[in-house]
Subunit: 428 residues, 2 copies
């Protein structure tokens, strides 16, 4: 890990350090467009073809039903079930609190406005398969969808070579009351949910992480269909802010937890002394060799870096420019700096709150904005699964109060028919 001194860095050097490539996969656009066009035209048949080509499996049918999911879920051990249940309960409890009604506002006498929540009716959840099997992602997307009250939840996950899905995915489906999983992966699954096929309902919004083909397909359907997406996605990342109260062993473990995700993951440490930096590097080197995914983690660590700052304020300043997906405040003084964190996806406070707690079970969502998207985007929440519709009701008196202003404003914008809609109602 290369180490920089914050005070030595120019504005341009900082800008370069915090920059991530947001569209590395543009060269695959044509391939993904072909897949989308094929699914749009050939529906289920295209999906079966892709399962044979990409997933190396010949499918009899495009989904697993409840009995098949139950058979798979039976492989989950009691300890694993208990852990999944704990995660479910905590995530449910935190997300349930997000669903709130709003008061009516009488903006002027006789003019009342308010917002009401409505679920997005049809949502599609993409759960990656292959080497990274992520039942936790299924919980993070499925629980807020259930709380929001989405009428139809379509789930796509790539088939394993035996034509099934991982036992944990099956177990989570049943926890969520979802009795069908479609065996489709990659860009073809996204296309199926955006356009619909004979088996798969066209959805209003697609959620979930995936490889570069999935990500590119989501971006394309977002700009060419009425189907929305949760957010743009890039490689996962963590930024750790640490001072002398931090424990290098913990910091190293957090940096490596991020690094094991993939070789393009980024783990950044911003700390208040060179001593912390050096001790952390030693710990990283000691711990990395013990990991099953050491090779991946090492590559990710190799392109990660450390910035040494003079004080915590400088650290937060750098972090706000980076806008990390995950931010760990490895300091006993976290309460003093939390208020100045402006750009981040999810924040882990103090020395005993590892990111992995939030990845799985603290209750917060782990579907978060990467690649500096945290400057404008929030992570997934119940908000992501609802719309807020505005309503207004005007009484006879209300129309008298507001009418003249509306007519004046309509006329000054040259929209006479807008003024007339008030005039016809006022003339009686």
């Amino acid at each position: 890990m290369k180490t920089y001194n914050y005070s030595d860095l120019s504005k341009a050097e900082i800008a370069k350090l915090v920059q991530r490539n947001v569209d590395p996969a543009n060269e695959i656009r044509a391939i993904v467009e072909d897949i989308i066009a094929n699914v749009q035209q050939n529906g289920d048949a295209a999906l079966l073809d892709y399962a044979a080509t990409f997933d190396k499996v010949t499918l009899d049918k495009l989904y697993l039903d409840k009995a098949e999911l139950e058979a798979l879920a039976a492989q989950v051990s009691e300890t694993q079930k208990a852990a999944l249940d704990t995660a479910y309960k905590n995530i449910y409890k935190f997300h349930e609190a997000q669903l709130k009604g709003e008061d009516k506002v009488e903006t002027m006498p006789g003019v009342t406005c308010w917002r009401e929540l409505r679920p997005i009716e049809k949502v599609g959840l993409y759960i990656p398969g292959g080497t990274a099997v992520l039942p936790s992602t299924f919980l993070m997307l499925g629980i807020p969808a259930k709380i929001a009250g989405c009428h139809e939840i379509i789930v796509c996950s790539p088939p394993q070579k035996n034509g099934g899905v991982n036992a944990f995915i099956a177990y989570v489906a049943l926890m969520l009351g979802i009795n069908r999983i479609f065996l489709a992966g990659g860009a073809q699954a996204i296309a199926a949910m955006a356009y619909g096929t004979e088996s798969i309902t066209k959805v209003d919004k697609i959620f979930g992480p995936g490889n570069q083909f999935v990500t590119k397909a989501k971006t394309i359907v977002q700009s060419t269909t009425t189907t929305a997406i949760d957010m743009p996605a890039g490689p996962s990342e963590v930024l750790v802010i640490a001072d002398d109260s931090a424990t290098p062993k913990y910091i190293a473990a957090d940096l490596l937890a991020q690094a094991e995700h993939g070789i393009d993951s980024q783990s950044v440490l911003v700390c208040t002394s060179a001593e912390i930096a050096n001790k952390t590097i030693d710990e990283v080197n000691r711990q990395v060799v013990t990991l099953p995914r050491a090779e991946i983690a090492q590559q990710a660590i190799d392109h990660s870096y450390i910035v040494v700052v003079d004080h915590l304020g400088q650290a937060v300043n750098f972090s706000n420019q980076y806008a990390p997906e995950h931010l760990i405040l490895a300091t006993d003084k976290w309460e003093e700096i939390t208020g100045s964190v402006i750009n981040a996806g999810s924040v882990f406070l103090g020395n005993l709150t590892p990111e992995s707690a939030g990845d799985y079970a603290s209750g917060t969502n782990h579907t978060l904005p990467t690649s500096s998207y945290a400057k404008a985007y929030s992570g997934v929440s119940v908000d992501s699964f609802v719309k807020k519709i505005t309503f207004q009701y005007i009484t006879t008196d209300g129309l008298k109060n507001i009418g003249p202003s509306v007519q004046t404003l309509a006329e000054l914008e040259g929209l006479h028919a807008h003024a007339n809609a008030v005039a016809v109602r006022s003339s009686n």
Copy 2:
């Protein structure tokens, strides 16, 4: 206006009726990409060139300052100021109520999670110019940006031929405490705000309506930069649900108010009898000829339509499939059906609540999802100008409670370093 009987329509015919073309402007993609590339490379110089080419004006500098805005704003009459002030107050009051803190949630003993709002730091507002000068749009975007506490608000609006902006735009800028308006329009303004130029700050999110070049540019920057956009946009539209309690004269005025926006606007009437339909058509024909924008309105009306239903439930069902930007419930029974409205941008209740009230001054936002995007998107609100960051804090006891579950889940996903981040903290 062509009239259909709902019960005669097949599922496919309904699907066709409710469909709008969401990407009519794809053929201009190459032109817009060129403009974006030019602004990215040449910055302010490109903007000055485009002002000369497209807006037919040679600019000395790219913005109007406070003194220039004040000089322009002096042309606004007292009546007009009063109307703008009323709109400002109502919009402010309704949007202010949207800014709410949230409670902390202890998901399990020692594990506390919560969300905090943070403003999006840098936002860009695009205010169209040309024939449609929309100070109301400036209010609808500027007020929630101020309430959210955005640090920097960049405003772009195309220059008029005299090198200025409309007096109302200038007045609204000063109301909002915005002392600079950049004289840039079209795709070039969007590019400038997405990439930044010598004069214009790169923003985190771009808001505002515009012509097809603006819309296409927003779509492109959304998928190629980290700059977000408010929502996709299409032609404006209204759907009026009416029963025997409605007044055809009012319905016709509402349909025409929508129709005068542009020839691609759509005004749909769904009513419970052929009699209402016929009376409304008569009223439309009578009123349209009196309008200054009669030619535009007539063309929009010509491709609009009426659906006659058996009862209000059927009407709401059709409307939910259409997912209108604006929905008028022209019935005394609006309270009975409001709950079943699932997909709509903004809803106008009863016979005395014209859409134009919401367009200008009731308090609700008029920046709304068109083209059936209301199935997945909400209109602009204070929510659109903030992020919600999740925080979590775990105590020593909390780590004991949650740790084993996190470790089990990390191991079952094959992410050993994630488990280790808990293990290192638990071993002390």
